[in-house]
């Protein structure tokens, strides 16, 4: 018996267990993760205006969702808009409530590409604590620099 074990037994009267007990955390769900990601996603298009609520997240491996909710200053009514971006082999399709389907092109497509890249980089670092390029776990020191 080591000196440490003897000391513990002397103080507590119980022989210390050699097994390390790890507290069991609640299992994280997909919904939890998307919620965490969306908080970061909301910022990649710039500051959220007052009286607005924004969510931007990756729904699945081919779909991105932008949700914006705001109060109409003239009527005081709550407004909302959901935009779904679906990635297809030859382009990105934009689907909005009440709007015809449209291919995303030009500046909008470039901005979307930049936004998704920022999302990946920030989410990988801040939510998953991983290097956005290699996918490797970030060490504590790397993550704080």
């Amino acid at each position: 018996m080591s000196l440490w074990s003897k000391t513990i037994k002397l103080v507590t009267g119980v022989e210390p267990s050699t097994k390390v007990s790890v507290p069991r955390l609640r299992k994280v769900t997909r919904r939890d993760l998307i919620r965490m990601e969306s908080k970061i996603g909301a910022t990649v298009f710039g500051p959220v205006p007052a009286n607005h609520r924004r969510e931007f997240f990756c729904l699945d491996e081919h779909t991105w969702v932008w949700y914006e909710e705001w109060i109409d200053e003239t009527t005081g009514a709550r407004r909302e808009m959901t935009t779904r971006y679906e990635v297809h082999p030859h382009g990105v399709l934009k689907v909005q409530d009440g709007q015809p389907y449209a291919l995303v092109e030009g500046e909008e497509l470039r901005n979307l590409a930049i936004a998704t890249r920022m999302y990946r980089e920030q989410v990988m670092r801040s939510v998953y604590r991983r290097d956005p390029v290699t996918g490797q776990k970030l060490s504590v020191s790397t993550g704080t620099i």
Binding site: V28, R30, D60, E86, V87, L93, G98, L109, P132
Partner: protein
């Protein structure tokens, strides 16, 4: 009519499967969609709701519009857009893989 997103496995509960032959053009290849759309030209058994025909027509028009827009792009534009689409997809796939891993294994 904006609810065009019904796929065969997503029909509203209680609805007969054959009534909902329209599909989301965003999720289908054009050819496959046209096969579905073509069925609207002849009476569909049990499909007596004008809303279904309207949805079919809307979906068909939407698919045609997308095809027209895609065809109007120059080869350079199309290549550039495809490259950006791939980059966007790669970002999503990276997140999805990491998310699935984390769901199973934790952080």
């Amino acid at each position: 009519m904006t609810e065009l997103g019904y796929r065969p496995d997503q029909t509203p509960q209680g609805a007969a499967q054959e009534r909902f032959i329209f599909v989301d053009p965003a999720d289908r290849k054009g050819r496959e969609f046209e096969v579905y759309a073509a069925q609207s030209q002849s009476p569909v058994r049990g499909a007596d709701s004008p809303e279904i025909y309207q949805a079919l027509e809307d979906a068909h028009n939407a698919a045609q519009e997308v095809k027209r827009e895609a065809a109007a792009r120059t080869p350079e534009q199309a290549a550039g857009d495809a490259e950006l689409a791939q980059a966007i997809d790669w970002n999503a796939q990276t997140i999805e893989v990491t998310r699935e891993y984390t769901e199973v294994n934790g952080f």
